[in-house]
Symmetry: C2
Subunit: 325 residues, 2 copies
């Protein structure tokens, strides 16, 4: 199969990669459309020490198994199936897991991938590929709603107006919170019909921090210095959600965390069902975030485009001879 192989920090189109072998209980999937995530860019910088086919945001067509012929999306963590975490229905935290295009499992920047059949969800007909490809990042944003009872909160601040920050803001608006988004690109907010309030540059280095405080703050930049600044605007007994991994350690003054009894909550992958439903109903029209699309042959250009400042989502279209959409 053709695919984009990451080796030594570079993505290269390979014309004849081996098709990944499906293990027991797994389904082969022909990829239709894949999305580029900040994690893919981080992998190229050495994160996770990953080499091979990256890519974990996709919509495809199941080639075998009970969903054969159906369009599918898939949860990216594949547990061992035998440990206490897996048996409790949480393969996302299995310590022996593989992760699609991130850890020990060939990913979505290729014509085919494999995932446990249990990870796959059929995509409703109303959800076009351009929307379905957002199931994974939107599920990650919905993870905040799974971890926290959002009804407890009235006002939320999202720091970071990139892809994930925007999706988090949409999930919080969807839960009827009063949402402020801090970033540098007010024009990015035009993508969605429902818009948060915008706070420009308030968390940049040297900027005067806002006077306001929030019950719920979601950090979606992955910049550890921003994390420290975001911590300072959490109300007593409030919550700071860390939505993105940072490449270097953060230096945090934890005394206010103790005195104000603040909760810092790490948040990663989420369940796909609420995300697919938000896409199906049109409540969160995520496809509006697509800025550019590239064919697989120009996959390396797609990755370079996604790394440009200000760009939201870049997608990679796979050659699908039988594509009817």
């Amino acid at each position: 199969m053709r695919g984009l192989r990451l080796t030594d920090g570079r993505f290269t189109l390979e014309p004849a990669l081996p098709v990944p072998a499906a293990g027991p209980g797994e389904t082969r999937v022909r990829v239709r459309l894949a999305g580029v995530c900040a994690t893919d860019l981080a992998l190229a910088r050495g994160y996770m020490g990953f080499e091979g086919v990256a890519g974990h945001e996709f919509v495809g067509t199941a080639l075998d198994g009970p969903l054969a012929g159906r369009r599918v999306v898939g949860e990216i963590n594949a547990g061992c199936g035998a440990c206490a975490r897996c048996l409790a229905g949480d393969p996302r935290h299995c310590t022996d897991r593989t992760v699609l295009g991130i850890l020990g499992r060939s990913g979505a920047f290729a014509e085919e991938l494999c995932l446990p059949t249990a990870n796959l969800l059929a995509v409703p007909d109303e959800v076009a590929d351009d929307a379905a490809v957002f199931a994974e990042p939107l599920a990650a944003a919905f993870e905040v709603a799974e971890q926290l009872d959002l009804a407890r909160f009235e006002r939320a601040l999202v720091v970071g107006d990139g892809r994930l920050g925007q999706l988090c803001a949409q999930v919080l608006l969807d839960a009827d919170l009063d949402v402020t988004l801090a970033g540098r690109h007010p024009e990015r907010l035009n993508r969605f019909p429902r818009r948060p309030r915008f706070l420009a540059g308030a968390f940049d280095a040297g900027a005067a921090p806002p006077d306001e405080r929030w019950d719920l703050v979601v950090e979606a930049t992955g910049d550890p210095d921003v994390t420290a600044r975001a911590l300072a605007v959490v109300k007593p007994r409030g919550t700071l959600v860390l939505k993105t991994t940072a490449a270097r350690p953060a230096t945090l003054d934890l005394a206010p965390v103790v005195v104000d009894e603040i909760t810092i909550l790490g948040s990663r992958c989420g369940r796909f069902a609420p995300a697919l439903e938000a896409l199906r109903s049109g409540r969160i029209p995520a496809a509006t975030l697509i800025d550019a699309r590239y064919p697989l042959e120009r996959g390396a250009d797609a990755l370079a485009h996604a790394a440009r400042p200000g760009v939201l989502k870049v997608v990679i279209e796979m050659p699908n001879p039988d594509d009817d959409r």
Copy 2:
């Protein structure tokens, strides 16, 4: 009145301090016994910029108001009474609060103090002064049980075998958790009839970290380097409770916090009622932690004694001419 005044990092006995004036809704309390806390030692090093009479652990006798003549203990945070936090019953997080012997309010290392009458609790006759003086630090340990549903956890690790670490371990044992205490002084565990397992030196600089992981880890050393090491032994989706303020910022790798969806929870003062009940029933015989007692005249020696390595609780006895016990 006589009292120990903190000025320029030194505690000095003053023979004629002004008696603190009771505000509206406040009760005057004659102090019987006061405990020395690590926070008092931190105040002497400049924490909070406090000058005046320190001390926030006490048992005394109410001199006026509805509890006049009764032995009392008291919650140390005095809210403004008018803000949303205070009206919701949480003066502990009022941004305009004063804090006994810590922030804007003369403390317990003197013959008299004042607190809002609503902060005071009568001490049951069965609870001797030596036990009652632990109401405040034991309430701080019980705060963990108020913030978390301890029934969700099976195994807990407390890092730090000082006063607060020991009390936290007792609260977790009281909730029937399987508790391990990491510290340097195994002999300290003999103070209590119910004892955690002991892990020696595992969080010291350069020590090999334990292979085990815990659902719940309570950091009770206040050393930011230990905090970083404690974070590394929290299970995926587990919780790290920060029980003590650190004097300097911590440098933390937050990527595992995100990937493993760990919760970091700051925890400070707690409600006194569960602490008083644990003392009354004898479930947590905290008075066994007392290592030394000094009269107020030798208060400076008491503070110096409390600062020695390995010492648990030092108490200061007030001159009470009408003491009948």
